[in-house]
């Protein structure tokens, strides 16, 4: 899908699907910066993207009135890319999700709308990303503990791998001494939650609006973050700090605008120090992520500074059963708050939980893959599993089948309220 640029790649037809004034503003700013440059000298234009049709089925009936066992819908993610002669670029990735049952899951977002510039400073290189983007930090698989720049788009999947776009000024300088990054992050985004008719919801629906934030931090509060990372031979190391509005909400019961009981999202003002490290030696990857966070409210409603960590290994077996790649991951998740810990992104509270994941890559022409993951609480009777099989059908179509199983949820877990919401998901994707 690569072609010569049209005479202007900056028509405004995307605007009518935009979700909110904040994002619209940011998009306008980004395009305002990018368009004159792009129009002046667009050397390369690319349009790609994917369309995914999806249907979910929960074998058990829901706990709350109005919940259905099946839901279908689709998601659409176009990706536009403009590049000038210098290699500077503008990336635009809107996202649209339609779910025919849950109106809260039906949503739009700008995953990316940023302008990228870079250049040299002596032997080093600098890079500036301006606009809406996604940033990933970390090394582990069972949870992403240090990763904090973007809010989670939780309605997409309870695995919480999908994230909302975050407005940022992201400056990077790197050289043979490592990579240093600075982030200025205005416009805090609240987490997305399933609506009253959707599955995987809590007993009370989460009110999408208003959002409560720490007194000093309104929506326009500017969060700051920095990270240093480097490879020391087999060791990859990252040190990070974040200061600003938490991405993890604390949920308080309240009465919503029409007087019905609901959950109010509250976001504390926090500081987080993070460490991520991976030692790659032979077939072993040894991984550690650890954080220290201050300023956040715990399960019993008190502010409590705490540390949490996830550590473990990934082992890659040599081709087994005639050419299949097999990797095995085992990770232990701990949270120093113990029983006072709140769940973060995972439905379970990972205060003392062991995760085991295996991935089979069958190395066939259709790129078939099977992943099986289990997280088990070492203290409570909680256990959840996820199994996913995916393969290509043609060069453009692929299919995936997922089972998300809440095998056992302890009454002490907040997600006990969604204990009957295991589901199967079948999805069919078209790649442009």
């Amino acid at each position: 899908m690569q072609s010569q640029p049209p005479d202007s790649g900056c028509r405004s037809t995307m605007f009518n699907i935009l979700p909110g004034p904040r994002i619209l503003l940011m998009l306008l700013v980004s395009i305002g910066v990018a368009c004159p440059l792009a129009q002046a000298q667009v050397e390369f234009f690319d349009l790609a993207g994917d369309l995914t049709l999806e249907t979910r089925h929960s074998p058990e009936s829901g706990l709350y009135p109005g919940q259905t066992s099946s839901a279908s819908g689709f998601s659409l993610t176009p990706r536009l890319y403009f590049e000038n002669a210098q290699g500077w670029s503008f990336n635009l990735t809107p996202f649209l999700r339609i779910d025919h049952v849950d109106s809260e899951r039906t949503h739009m977002d700008l995953r990316q709308a940023y302008f990228l510039m870079f250049g040299d400073i002596g032997d080093d290189q600098w890079e500036l990303r301006l606009g809406i983007d996604q940033v990933f930090w970390g090394v582990t698989e069972s949870q992403h503990l240090v990763d904090i720049i973007n809010q989670v788009d939780l309605v997409e999947n309870p695995s919480a791998e999908q994230k909302l776009g975050q407005t940022m000024v992201h400056f990077t300088r790197f050289g043979n001494w490592g990579t240093a990054e600075l982030f200025v992050l205005p416009f805090h985004r609240p987490r997305t939650f399933p609506g009253a008719g959707g599955r995987l919801r809590l007993a009370l629906p989460v009110d999408p609006d208003p959002i409560s934030r720490a007194a000093s931090n309104d929506e326009r509060h500017i969060d700051l973050a920095a990270r240093y990372s480097h490879s020391f031979g087999p060791l990859d190391l990252g040190l990070s700090v974040f200061d600003g509005t938490s991405r993890e909400p604390v949920l308080f019961p309240e009465l919503d605008a029409i007087g019905s009981p609901a959950l109010l999202q509250h976001y504390d003002d926090i500081r987080q120090y993070g460490l991520d490290a991976q030692l790659t030696t032979g077939a072993w990857l040894l991984k550690l992520e650890a954080i220290h966070r201050s300023g956040e409210t715990n399960l019993v409603g008190e502010q409590e500074d705490y540390a949490a960590a996830v550590m473990g290994f990934e082992y890659q077996f040599q081709s087994v059963f005639g050419g299949t790649d097999l990797s095995l991951v085992s990770e232990w998740n701990i949270d120093a708050r113990g029983d006072r810990a709140l769940p973060r992104r995972n439905p379970l509270t990972l205060q003392n939980d062991l995760a085991v994941l295996t991935r089979f890559g069958f190395n066939d022409v259709s790129g078939s893959e099977l992943t099986i993951g289990v997280i088990r609480d070492m203290e409570r009777d909680s256990q959840l599993a996820a199994v996913e099989f995916s393969r290509r059908l043609t060069d453009r179509w692929s299919i995936s089948l997922e089972w998300y199983g809440l095998l056992e949820i302890d009454p002490d877990e907040i997600f006990y309220q969604a204990r009957r919401d295991s589901f199967f998901e079948l999805s069919l994707s078209l790649f442009l």
Partner: protein, 266 residues
Amino acid sequence: MITVKPALTALLFSVVAGSYGMSALSQTPEEIGLRIEKEYHEALDGFANYTANLNMLLRNRQGQESERQLRIKVLEMENDGDRSLFIFDEPRDVAGTAFLVHSRREENDEQWLYLPALQRVKRIASSNRSGSFMGSEFAYEDMGVPEVEKFTYKYLRDESCANSECTVTERYPVDKRSGYRRQVVWRDKDELRIRRIEFYDRKDSLLKTLNFEDYQQYQDRYWQAHTLDMVNHVTGKSTTLTWSDFVYGEDVNANEFTQTGLRRIR
């Protein structure tokens, strides 16, 4: 019989000595094999960098075909192994995925994978050398030109191949995790171009044959085969690599071949 043997030996020596000078007389087959490999690498050195496009055509025993499309960038490093970047364009579900390799002469290579959906750079183990590259008949260890130190060598004989006079050498992987016990390499004497490689598995049975065709010269110096045909004799599957659009010595930025540069790849 008694007279034939010295004559044969003399003939063999004259052939070897003819190509490699008189000192070959005193060299063991291992020394000659290493020398041929070093000369081959010297002929390749100094290219600074190149970029190229790669099409992979995968065929199974029934003749069903599937295609992969990649872009490759290679950066030569002083006193270290080359750095290579593989950017996937097709199939479309993996479009934008990039694979970065820092080859090392003595230690294990370092490898990173960029997953565009999560914008995640993942350092991966380089130990699975025998694993298939993108479902093809090429293993990871078959991609690119391995550093001299990754094998030990033994010169076998001269014979004609691809209408030229060729040397035949054997090489034995140093890494115990290699999928091979040995490889036999045919190289023409004119330009030291590899014409054929036979791959023998750990049990020493013939696993795969790779033929190199359509050689073209760049910069008046560097020979590149544009068609590489790999046949797996056990499964009956085959893979054809077709290279195109080689560009040498352009302004390739060394910073692209880093973890941070990887996040910017398109």
